[in-house]
């Protein structure tokens, strides 16, 4: 359930990202389809990664849930059973290949049981062999919900064959308290080097979730210190942490001598060291990258070129790249609000929404692309949503004014827009929406919130009328988009609306559609069913889609083999990147 925190700070993991502008040299190196620039990468040199103002929250594999960190750790120091190859091909780049396992997993009951065999020639950074038990232990940590907080454990809770206790959580409480250990030992078993996972229901794209997230990574029971290991890295990949990770400053990675290149088809590990630097503002990072001076020549970043500096992109030449991201931003009418429980009022809001103004305020066409569905076009199940496809990007003020006549709320219709503010872009974008809504006859009050945003909008009795949301699929399935956002059964409880911020309740019809789509074992047929659910959501105006974020990146001039691969959501693929010495 990846989510984006701020309009310009999308997180999360998902599948495809098409390269819009493969600037420069292009595909000189074998399978790096697009987004690559500059010369061929070679061993050696010291590379830098600018982490930026949004610091890493967890390096614990079971706690990570931010696309950037999932990608980077998977490319440099964490391996799992399967992984995605360094490729920008929309199919190849999203198809798992064996990594620490010998194959991509086998199932004999259409996804209800999955088995993997762990290679026996792979080691941890201290030389210990990686065993099946390490994988079993790693997965078990997800259940210690009082310690291992923040990760995507919910998927395992939903699927793994462990009964639910009185508190609606699994009866197994993780390896620390060992409560219900026998339940877990039945659900996940090791025979020699073969690990088997047993689920309550079929999970056809389970391997993809392993490749995209890190929650099933192996972990060392003998080195596990629980929460105190939040920033400890026990590497099994090409690099290991040199010294401590310091939050706010970063850390330095050096080569891990116990990683054997011959066991690893994905990671090229060109640079000798990786220096992760935290805390700089986007402006400071990009002023340096644009000037291509000093350390910045050896640097890449996941931060986006700030719109204020976009006009200087030509200074960067072919060091500038642009990719479409897997994230979609949207606004949600609050179904609990006295105004928007009326469908006519939602219709007016939908027609009044000025996607063009929002996009312009956020940087223009180089930063966003107007969209018509909450499902990203790269995810199977996307189809232009008929409810939104025909509205002009700037909205339909006249149609909106007409619809507003039918709205039952007292005129002028006063609404409150609560959004995740605090960045110049988000504040300006909200102002642009307000201007258009007000033009159609609404009277909008803007209510920007920063750190407390989710605490406020997740309360079912919150008094906002409209709010903002952003989302990217966890892996290429609409099943990681629609249910997490709109299935009231899993989201809405008396004191929280989960991710269903708009408090949308689809009722029996929508619930049935969702269950049918989930139950469909054929992934293509499932995609069609998800599209049908999306169409129904559009009909109800459960959300109003805004845009797809477009990434604008600049990297340093001495970086080689640079590629914005679909396998890492369009970010720089650290697996194949090198630097000049």
């Amino acid at each position: 359930m990846a989510f984006t925190k701020k309009p310009l700070a999308a997180l999360a993991a998902t599948a495809l990202a098409a390269t819009l502008a493969a600037c420069g040299g292009g595909s000189g190196d074998d399978d790096n389809g697009g987004g690559s620039s500059s010369g061929k990468a070679e061993k050696g040199g010291d590379a830098i990664f600018f982490v930026g103002p949004r610091t890493v929250e967890h390096w614990d594999p079971q706690r990570m849930y931010i696309g950037r960190d999932l990608n980077n750790s998977g490319r440099l120091f964490y391996r799992s059973l399967v992984a995605l190859p360094a490729s920008n091909d929309p199919v190849e780049g999203t198809t798992p290949v064996p990594d620490l396992a010998t194959d991509t997993g086998t199932t004999e009951d259409a996804g209800k049981t999955w088995s993997f065999t762990v290679r026996d020639d792979v080691k941890w950074e201290d030389g210990q062999p990686i065993t099946c038990e390490d994988f079993k232990y790693g997965a078990s940590r997800n259940f210690a919900t009082d310690v291992i907080i923040g990760g995507p454990a919910n998927y395992l809770f939903t699927y793994l064959d462990i009964p639910t206790g009185d508190d609606d959580l699994p009866a197994y409480k993780g390896p620390y308290s060992k409560k219900g250990q026998e339940l877990y030992d039945q659900a996940v078993t090791c025979e020699g080097q073969t690990i088997t996972y047993r689920f309550k229901k079929a999970w056809p794209d389970f391997p993809l979730s392993i490749a995209q997230l890190r929650y099933l990574d192996p972990y060392r029971a003998d080195l596990d210190k629980g929460d105190a290991n939040n920033f400890e890295i026990i590497s099994n990949g090409p690099y290991k942490l040199d010294g401590d990770w310091k939050e706010g400053t970063g850390g330095k990675f050096v080569r891990n001598e116990n990683w054997d290149e011959s066991t690893d088809p994905i990671r090229k590990a060109f640079p000798d060291t990786w220096d992760f630097r935290e805390g700089d503002t986007d402006e400071a990072i990009y002023e340096q990258l644009l000037a291509d001076s000093g350390d910045a020549q050896y640097a890449v970043t996941e931060r986006r070129l700030p719109p204020a500096l976009f006009s200087r992109k030509d200074e960067a030449g072919d060091r500038y790249t642009q990719v479409e991201s897997p994230y979609v931003d949207y606004v949600l009418p609050n179904f609990n609000s006295p105004v928007f429980k009326d469908a006519n009022c939602r219709e007016a809001l939908k027609l009044a929404t000025d996607r063009a103004g929002w996009i312009k305020a956020g940087g223009g066409d180089n930063y966003f692309k107007a969209t018509d569905s909450v499902i990203n076009p790269s995810v199977p199940g996307y189809e232009p949503n008929p409810a939104f496809a025909d509205i002009p990007a700037a909205g339909d003020p006249d149609g909106a004014a007409a619809a507003l006549e039918k709205c039952s709320a007292p005129k002028p219709v006063k609404i409150k827009f609560t959004y995740s503010g605090g960045t110049p872009t988000s504040d300006n974008q909200a102002s642009a929406l307000k201007a258009a809504w007000d033009k159609a006859g609404f009277e909008t009050e803007l209510d920007p919130l920063e750190d407390t945003y989710y605490a406020v909008i997740q309360k079912p009795d919150a008094d906002f009328d409209v709010t903002w949301g952003g989302w990217g699929a966890d892996w290429a399935s609409a099943g990681t988009v629609i249910p997490p956002l709109f299935d009231s059964r899993i989201n809405i409880t008396p004191d929280s609306n989960g991710n269903d911020y708009g408090n949308y309740k689809g009722g029996p019809e929508v619930n049935q559609l969702i269950d049918d789509a989930y139950a469909e074992p054929d992934l293509d047929a499932a995609a069609d069913k998800w599209a049908a659910v999306d169409a129904k959501l559009g009909e109800d105006i459960a959300y109003i889609p805004l845009e797809i974020t477009i990434f604008n990146f600049v990297h340093g001039g001495k970086v080689t083999g640079y590629a914005n691969n679909v396998s890492v959501n369009g970010y720089a693929d650290l697996a194949v990147l090198g630097v000049e010495k």
Binding site: M1, F3, T55, E57, Y65, T145, D146, V147, I149, G150, N154, D167, D168, L169, P175, Y176, S177, K178, D224, K225, G226, D227, A228, N229, N230, F231, E232, K246, E247, G248, T249, G279, D280, T281, E283, A284, E287, Q288, A291, S293, G294, D295, D451, T452, Y454, A455, Q458, T493, D495, S496, G498, N499
Partner: protein
């Protein structure tokens, strides 16, 4: 003297206790459920409860405070859970006295976090302190001696302008233009003496220290000037003059000495406050000191870190107050301690 010191220290400790209780009340009595921020987004009510219990937030604030106080005196275990001690003792973190708490977000004891960040803030404070004291006193005395002249007006005017621009604005100017766009200095990054030697340490410090010093210098110029002018009007200076002492002696031995006493003591207090981190300067220059730590901690509702920092900083200031009062008594013979 000794009795006085003991009494002051005792009063200081009492003050610190009261202040820590107030801090706890302020932070832990808020109606916001802190645990929901730590638990993250996909957090059910049950998970939230578990988190609150693990953080100790489900306890009354008086109990939380006494646990904290106990930690300061004898140390603490996190989490202090006898059951866990049996099943998974390796996950319990020992925090030795003086223990200021344990941060779940940062996965470390507050004491360790402060150990990491203190040298950065201290370096910045020292560098800025030297600059602003030298500059402030020099220009302040100059202005006072040349009272009413062009020089005086210039110095006072400049200091007023220096005072008028917000620190973050000045810092950004230096950072974005001097360091990045014009490339006149290296991009400021904190380098410890162990890593980069004195040279590396100094070059990383230059711009942040200048930024921080400008604000204080502006204030100290004005202050020095007025104290010096005032002391020239004091009776004993007039007496000294009347006795026919050379003007130079009068200026430096009598007037300046008297004027500088309050300035030096006040500077001590400012320095003590700064040791806790210059939040804005550290934010502008991405300096990993205690100020930056405070910003990080407040942005993710890391209460143990915030509370630890607040109480430590208060201790600095209370201690500095005692030291300064003692110092004042030593410098100024008119003050008698009793």
């Amino acid at each position: 003297m000794l009795a006085y010191v003991i009494r002051r220290v005792f009063a200081g400790v009492i003050m610190l206790i009261v202040m820590s209780i107030v801090t706890f009340a302020l932070f832990f009595l808020t109606p916001i459920d802190q645990e929901s921020f730590i638990c993250g987004k996909n957090c059910s009510a049950a998970q939230k409860k578990e988190t609150a219990a693990a953080m100790g937030y489900d306890d009354s604030f008086i109990n939380q405070w006494s646990d904290f106080a106990k930690g300061v005196v004898v140390g603490r275990d996190f989490p202090d859970d006898p059951k866990l001690r049996e099943t998974a003792p390796q996950t319990i973190v020992r925090c030795d006295a003086p223990c200021l708490g344990y941060s779940r977000e940062r996965g470390d004891t507050v004491t360790n976090l402060i150990k990491d960040t203190f040298p950065v803030s201290f370096s910045l404070a020292v560098a800025a302190f030297i600059l602003w004291m030298a500059g402030g006193i020099l220009f302040g005395v100059l202005a006072a001696l040349k009272k009413g002249t062009f020089i005086d007006r210039g110095v006072v005017g400049l200091s007023l302008i220096g005072f008028a621009f917000p620190t973050f604005f000045v810092g950004l100017l230096l950072y974005k233009f001097v360091a990045i766009q014009w490339g006149l200095t290296e991009i400021p990054r904190y380098t410890s003496i162990a890593e980069g030697g004195i040279g590396g340490w100094l070059s990383g410090l230059t711009l942040p220290a200048i930024t921080l010093c400008l604000f204080f210098m502006a204030a100290y110029v004005r202050m020095t000037r007025s104290y010096v002018i005032e002391s020239f009007q004091e009776d004993y200076v007039r007496t000294a003059r009347a006795k026919g002492l050379p003007e130079r002696t009068v200026t430096f031995k009598h007037a300046l000495r008297a004027a500088l006493t309050p300035i030096v003591t006040m500077a001590g207090l400012d320095f003590a406050g700064l040791m806790g981190g210059a939040i804005i300067t550290e934010s502008v220059f991405n300096y990993p000191g205690m100020g930056k730590l405070a910003v990080l901690a407040s942005s993710d509702f890391d209460l143990p870190t915030t509370v630890g920092l607040v109480i430590l900083l208060a201790a600095f200031v209370i201690m500095a107050n005692i030291v300064v009062d003692l110092l004042y008594a030593v410098i100024d013979p008119r003050v008698r301690l009793g």
